[in-house]
């Protein structure tokens, strides 16, 4: 049952991602991208990572893509740009990129190779001081404790980067006031 679902959702993700890349119509592309994000969320659910799945829907499908669609509709970018495939540079670059992926997959899985399996260690010490550390699970608690203890610095740095991006946008988009 889970295997069948995995194949269905994996195919959905791949096909919609492909449609997104080749679609000449920007709105079609954005819709295919939403389908791809929701399909990825479904794959997370199959891995029992419900929190990641719902964040994928909430942040990417629900917020980021609404903004994309909003911009596409406001700018009306449908006309022009018939297909990206006609551009020789783009075509060459995508073929080389695809070739690299094929090499990667072959070297990882051919001839009895498989991906290294990480040891699931306790990620952080238990803040209550009882027993062993918080085990690595997919529950929100595990995410929360590790985000605010072991990974505090990367978390803060990521937040700082976003702040820098936000200030950059404000600086770029703000028009200089005319001196009268």
């Amino acid at each position: 049952m889970i295997d069948i679902l995995f194949y269905v959702f994996a195919a959905t993700v791949l096909i919609s991602a492909f449609v997104m890349v080749i679609s000449p119509n920007a709105v079609n592309g954005a819709m295919a991208m939403i389908v791809s994000f929701v399909g990825t969320a479904a794959l997370f659910v199959l891995l029992e990572a419900y929190f990641l799945a719902i964040l994928q829907v909430l942040v990417y499908a629900g917020a980021v893509m609404v903004l994309f669609l909003f911009i596409i509709m406001l700018l009306d970018v449908n006309q022009g740009e018939p297909s990206y495939l006609k551009d020789k540079m783009t075509l060459g670059a995508s073929i080389i990129g695809f070739g690299l992926v094929v090499v990667l997959v072959c070297s990882a899985f051919l001839g009895g190779n498989h991906l290294p399996e990480p040891n699931l260690l306790p990620v952080v010490e238990n803040p209550t001081g009882e027993g062993v550390g918080i085990p690595f699970t997919t529950s929100i608690k595990s995410f929360g404790y590790s985000l605010f203890t072991k990974y505090m610095l990367p978390f803060q740095v990521a937040g700082f980067l976003l702040l820098a991006a936000m200030i950059g946008v404000i600086v770029v988009s703000k028009k200089e006031e005319e001196h009268s």
């Binding site: 939403i34 719902i54 964040l55 499908a61 609404v66 669609l69 909003f70 509709m73 406001l74």
Partner: protein, 366 residues
């Protein structure tokens, strides 16, 4: 695999959808009756079903109350001529009503509407799926509902629907922020360390057994309520379909059953918003603040808890309708400045204040 284990959840889900759709159609009737009451009119009072409507006194009473009106409304949507304007983008034009309704119906999966006591004496919620991240699930799925409106406006290829769609998507993005931030303090208080419930709605309701969160967190409740009004596109926030300047808004080009789907989706959002507010701030099925639940552990107690929960939800639906027919509509720039300049800073201040308060209490207790 056990057949019963597959069939039973499907049966429950179908039952819940039926009840929910019934509620949707009767909230349309409630809207018409309450609006007529507020405006000093009579409202729908003529529709009569052949057999029941002709029972001597009861039939006249039910007809006067408009009980049979939803059936007539629904049939009207079904039997009208299906018109598809020639200038629309067909695929997205047909897709939009489905995308509008589906998220509203999906969110009810994690909505607890009553409680029972299992044979081990543990209180369990009556819910289709009691998942740890129920609240996030609702936020995530309902944020997909905006696509229905955006696609409807865009695929109609017409200026008023397009303007309505742009307004509504901007509004929903703005108010989602304040809504999420207003909910955070609720979970900071209800999911105390050691709590097993995480962000499930059942945990919040259980935490409100003695005091409702609307009394303990009035600011969160107010911000959340305003944001819910904005998210459901109801007056005074119905920028998406303000009749006076946008004809019908995003569904101007829609008719018959496709319009009906948008209509049902709006009421589904209203019911979900009401139920969510009851769960988060009005104590769910808990009796009154400070009073122990008077119902027992048996089947009767379960039924009473569901009835009490539903009566709170009905009150909230009435509140939604009441506000709609009482307040005038905001101007669009007022909606935006209310969202970004008042609600968002208030929600952040509320969050910081509650964080400091909890830290202070923890420091004193430690």
């Amino acid at each position: 695999m056990d057949t019963l284990a597959i069939l039973l959840p499907i049966a429950f889900a179908l039952a819940m959808i039926s009840v929910f759709m019934g509620l949707c159609s009767y909230s349309v009737l409630a809207e018409r009756k309450v609006s007529s009451w507020i405006q000093g009119r009579v409202g729908p009072n003529r529709t009569r079903l052949p057999l029941i409507g002709h029972i001597p006194i009861l039939g006249n009473l039910l007809t006067g109350l408009g009980i049979f009106q939803p059936a007539a409304d629904g049939l009207k949507f079904l039997f009208k001529e299906e018109i598809t304007p020639g200038h629309v983008n067909k695929f997205y034009y047909y897709l939009a009503p489905i995308v509008a309704l589906a998220p509203a119906l999906t969110t009810m999966v994690v909505l607890p509407f009553g409680r029972y006591v299992d044979p081990n004496g543990v209180v369990q919620p009556l819910v289709l799926a009691n998942i740890e991240i129920g609240m996030l699930f609702i936020l995530g799925i309902s944020s997909l509902g905006v696509y229905g409106i955006v696609l409807a406006g865009w695929s109609s290829n017409s200026k008023y629907p397009f303007l309505g769609a742009i307004r509504s998507s901007a509004q929903m993005i703005s108010y989602e922020l304040a809504m999420g931030l207003a909910i955070l303090p609720v979970f900071m208080w209800s999911a105390a360390p050691g709590s097993e419930h995480g962000m499930s709605l059942f945990g919040v309701i259980e935490a409100q057994e003695t005091v409702w969160l609307a009394l303990w967190q009035p600011l969160s409740a107010l911000i959340f309520l305003v944001a819910v009004f904005a998210e459901t596109n109801r007056l005074p926030f119905d920028m998406a379909e303000s009749e006076t300047d946008l004809v019908g808004g995003f569904h101007t080009e829609y008719g018959c059953f496709k319009f009906g789907l948008f209509f049902v989706a709006e009421y589904a959002h209203v019911i979900m918003g009401s139920a969510l507010f009851v769960c988060l701030f009005l104590g769910g099925w808990n009796f009154l603040p400070g009073l122990a639940n008077p119902w027992g552990d048996g089947l009767f107690g379960t039924v009473l808890s569901v009835v009490w929960f539903m009566s709170k939800v009905f009150f909230m639906i009435f509140f939604f309708i009441w506000v709609r027919w009482t307040l005038p509509r905001f101007r669009y720039d007022q909606v935006m400045s209310l969202g970004w300049k008042i609600l968002l800073p208030l929600a952040i201040a509320n969050l910081v204040f509650n964080t400091l308060l909890i830290a202070l209490i923890d420091t004193i207790n430690a």
